[in-house]
Amino acid sequence: MWSDMDPRSKIFATLCLTSMALLVRMPLAALLLAALTAAALIAFGIDPKGPLKTLIRLAPAMLVVAVLQVLLVRSGRTVLSAFGIGIVTTGGLGAAAFMVVRVGIIAACGYILSGIGFADFLLAMKSMKVPYEIAFMAAMGAKFLPLLAEEMTDSLTSAELRGADIKRMGIIRRLRLYSEVLMPATFTALSRAEGISWALELRGFNPGAGRTYWRKLEMRMSDWMAFPLGIIAFAAFLLANY
């Protein structure tokens, strides 16, 4: 519906959501926050399949951390005990659940942000009075991860075509392949980023200098609404959380 919303609304929304995700303490607030994130995704016209895939890819790491949380945090009632020692406590379960919610929300926010084009991002940062050098570094940084991801995908496809049967490989061999490919892919992504920065400079992209914008960023009704909505949501969240 608002998929072509102003990048500023998107940046604002993700700032709200991530800060809430870091603050969240009460179960009710966590639920509210999860609902808010879902609403934001829908409002920005993002197909939930994308963030879900990201989450699934993160799942093994999340599982490990969640298990650690369950085992290490011991507060509240003991749920499961063996030999008279409490193993799983409600506190531990809660901590794990919060961790999952946090990671999920941050992943979703990353997804919202990655939909903003490089230049739109800069533009938005500039109009929010972020110093240009910082904005440029942030934008290049944000550009690097997609470059690396793309490079990894290309490399793995090429590896498969040359006989690396990734689907049927054991986990050890698969990890070895990934690590074999990761370093060169990182170098490639770096050299691509370098090429981008040359091209940008040669095309007159100069952080200090004045520039014009042939398309204006237009804050429409729906964009202005994002701000009060965000503030109301934040207030509701604080009420639920404390």
Binding site: R162, R168, M183
Partner: protein, 225 residues
Amino acid sequence: MRAVSFESVGFSYPGSRQDKSSKQVFEGLTLTLVPGKVYVMSGPNGCGKSTFAKLMTGMLKPDSGRILIGENDMVWMGLSDIGKHVGLVMQNPSRQLIMQKPVDEIAFGLIHRGMQKDEAANVAKAALRDYKLTEIADTPTQKLSKGEQVRLAMASVAVLEPDWLLLDESLSCLDGASRSKVLDKVARLVRHGGGALIISHSKDLAYELGAIRILIERGGVSVVV
């Protein structure tokens, strides 16, 4: 050596988040490539030549219809199986290079196809010599010039001896000498019963090679001459 057949293949690129409309490239494309022949494919920019090459190596999957290698439908084959039959040098070869050192690049496929490391290294070194790449053996693959990358990609694919060799605009990046070298390799493959598909804008190439021409027009219609 097996034929590759496209049976009423349809393909479109899905829309993206920025660019919503999907892009139909082929509809009902039917075409059989028989081994022992060289095909030269041409057509205007954006008509789908590279897309065809990527479909033929399984990097893209058709939306409808099917692509057969011999009797086997490609949907049921993994990329590593397809790679035994079809080798592609991409239009943008830096996308298919994986390793940091040229020797490792060529050895990569050999090792994954089960060759011992030492032997693979020897074969790779011989291939570097063969493609006149010894001078750049210490240059990282990503820093190589475009023509050097094309030759390296070609070497890495050719040492695996696929039945089919696909060259996507590779010849236009090469000087006279390396071009003849690559065409020699193609001729040899074809003499041994393999096949080749060369994508090129050159009008005279098909004539020069005595090849079969495939013309793709916008809208994905093909005419074989």
